[in-house]
């Protein structure tokens, strides 16, 4: 068994609006001098620390947790899972 840090990023699916990201872009960033930014998307990240036998097992375990416990609502959101060695 090894320890892994797993980052779970939850964000709205493509095509689903993200009013918070849009407001931060239009009313904060673009109003300053930073005109090269074209998109901001908000997301929520959960950082898990987990003991599993390998990276693959860690990933599938976390995916299962996310699905089973409705950590994200697949109606509107997607999750991206990144696994790192602790």
């Amino acid at each position: 068994m090894a320890t892994f840090n797993v980052h779970v990023t939850i964000e709205n699916k493509p095509g689903i609006s993200d009013p918070e990201g849009d407001t931060i872009l239009n009313d904060l960033v673009l109003k300053g001098a930073h005109k090269t930014v074209s998109k901001i998307k908000t997301a929520k990240m959960l950082k898990f620390t987990i003991k599993e036998k390998d990276k693959k097992a860690a990933r599938s375990k976390i995916q299962k947790i996310c699905d089973e416990l409705r950590i994200y609502n697949p109606m509107v959101s997607t999750v991206t899972i990144d696994v790192f060695n602790a």
Partner: protein, 721 residues
Amino acid sequence: MSLEPQELAELKLNIGRDPTSTELQIVAAEWSEHCSYKSSKKHLKMLPMKGPLVIHEKGYDSGVLDVGNGYVVTAHIESHNHPSAVEPYGGAATGVGGVIRDILSAGTRPIAILNGLRFGNIETDKHARWLFKNAVTGIADYGNCLGVPTIGGEVEFDDCYHNYALVDVAAVGFGKKKNLIKNHATNGDLVVLLGGSTGRDGMGGSQFASDSLESEDRSAVQIPDPFIEKLIIEAILEARKQKLINAMKDLGGGGLSCAVSEIANTLEVGIEMDVDMVHTRESNMHPDEIMISESQERMLIITSKTKLKELQKICKKFRISCSVIGHVKSDNQMHVKKGKKTFANLPTDVIVNATLLDLPSKKPVYLKTIEKEKKLRPIFDYSKIMMNFLAAPNIASKIWVYGQYDHEVGIRTVIKPGHDASVLRLDNGKFLSVKIDGNPKQCYINPREGAIGCFEEACRNVVCTGAKPIGMLDHLQFGNPKDPEIFWTFLESLKGLTDFANHFKIPCIGGKVSLYNETPAGPIKPTPLIGVLGLIDKKPLIPQRISDGDCLVIVGDTKDEMGGSEYFEYIHKFIGGKCPSVNFVESKKNMKVVLKVIQSQLLKSVHDCSKGGLAVAISELCMTNQIGCRILLENVPGEKLDVDRILFSESHSRYLLTLDKKNLKKLETMLKKSKVSFKLIGKFRGKKIQFTKGTKSIIDLRVDIAQKTWLNSLKDLVLHG
């Protein structure tokens, strides 16, 4: 989205050719149950809609009442059941948004939100808890951000909503009568789309709401943006002030398809529009998608060419997009183009007039035996039962819910949530009392009496604040209307509401029908929800603190009507028995005399007696005032009944009056004169809730312990399961 084969044939016959794909989408949206009311419309006409205070104008999505001194109140009710059942946060939030825009489209400022929430059994079902928690957060985040106070509502749990959610939202608006939008349009006027951008979200939502859940493809979810909605409210009210709006309509179910066709048809004009002019969120959207997208926070405005610049200036100030998407013509056609190419060109009356159905109905078989009571297990310890009862999700305090809603913003809220009805102060010195009530448990057992009961309960609640009911909103929620047994329950409820409205001369000022509310386990119980608005000319009865020695008088009889009661269903797990029924004559007499004694300022408070019966209503008085009581059950007026029936029967037309002892004589004289059934049943004192019958103690509870359970159990259940 699609039409039924015979509907397609009708459409072809009407226009004399095959419709284009865009035309099909437009017509399918407009002919959906959600937009056309095709199953219910024929029957809804029975409700009385007129009254001395009702103002009728062309094309309003909300009802309007004249409250005097040049002011009006607007009100509307809607639901967002299907979307909330799959994405409770967004579904509930956008439900608030939709009904707020209906208020706005009359040109009035929204001043209050109420909501009725229904879910499955949250004690046993984790998913129901998830739905409940997120729907509440959705409503809170949306309403709080808008700065429109959420002043009341109700929450109920029942197994029939397993894996489902009913989210009903009512909103109230206020404004000057002279500022009401008088919808009109003339040839050459511009059609402007204002607010959020159009995207692929919420595609086909109205169709979605007209199907049962198991068959939908679950794509019709909308993302709420309360910030844009708030800006729309301010921009529209500013534009109204500058008289820049000729006509206005909210984009709701069916998106542009319904808004454009309905406004054109109402105003008897044609509209030619170009989908390329619509501001979209995504590029490469097909015209069909643009026409039926139900993206939120959008308004359609018709303005004159000369006023456009000013309107654009206002939109710029409030940083919201506005696009001129078309213009008004005199040909009564809805003409949709993309650039030069025509995608749809239909007579508006064809689009908006779906063929109305006359569905068959048949009395449900289950009703034949439902009134028969089973033998109940005997209860030995009513104190213990009472403690369980106070913790029951349907009885427990809803403070966890309304504590998350800003109910003070707008500084109108005179009587705040947690009482019978909430009361708002109006600018003309009068007060508006509002309440919504539903009772699916009783409506299931007797759809007619149950619906009347909801209506009377809502009236009772506003009467408790000293208000006279002046208008009603109805929201009729049922299963699949094509099932004749379900349709029968719909008709029975409607007839009951109509009879009550006629007898009490309370006009129906608005309403909504939501059908196809089905879960995998079957249809929901009939769930009509009734909102009542009451007006107080002088002073509301703000509940005063009850103190030692104060008296408790009950008005109204307690009867053997246990069907659909919380006691039967929660304690005995029994669905059945005789449904409480309203005696119109008694009901009117009681209402009248309660209003009269409130006006004579003899009382400290009036509390309605409903869910959970007398035992719960009196305990609520004790717990909110942190004072004990001694109640003599043998004094409770009505038939001679067993103890459990006196305690827990949910008979209607009952009011609990609290008062200082010194006013008792005067009160009794007034009540005697009006020939209502009443009795002094107890006194407040000490720190214990005590019910006795003869020499026997029936319930004996410490107020502080009861209060703790009552206040915290819902929160504990939601947060810790």
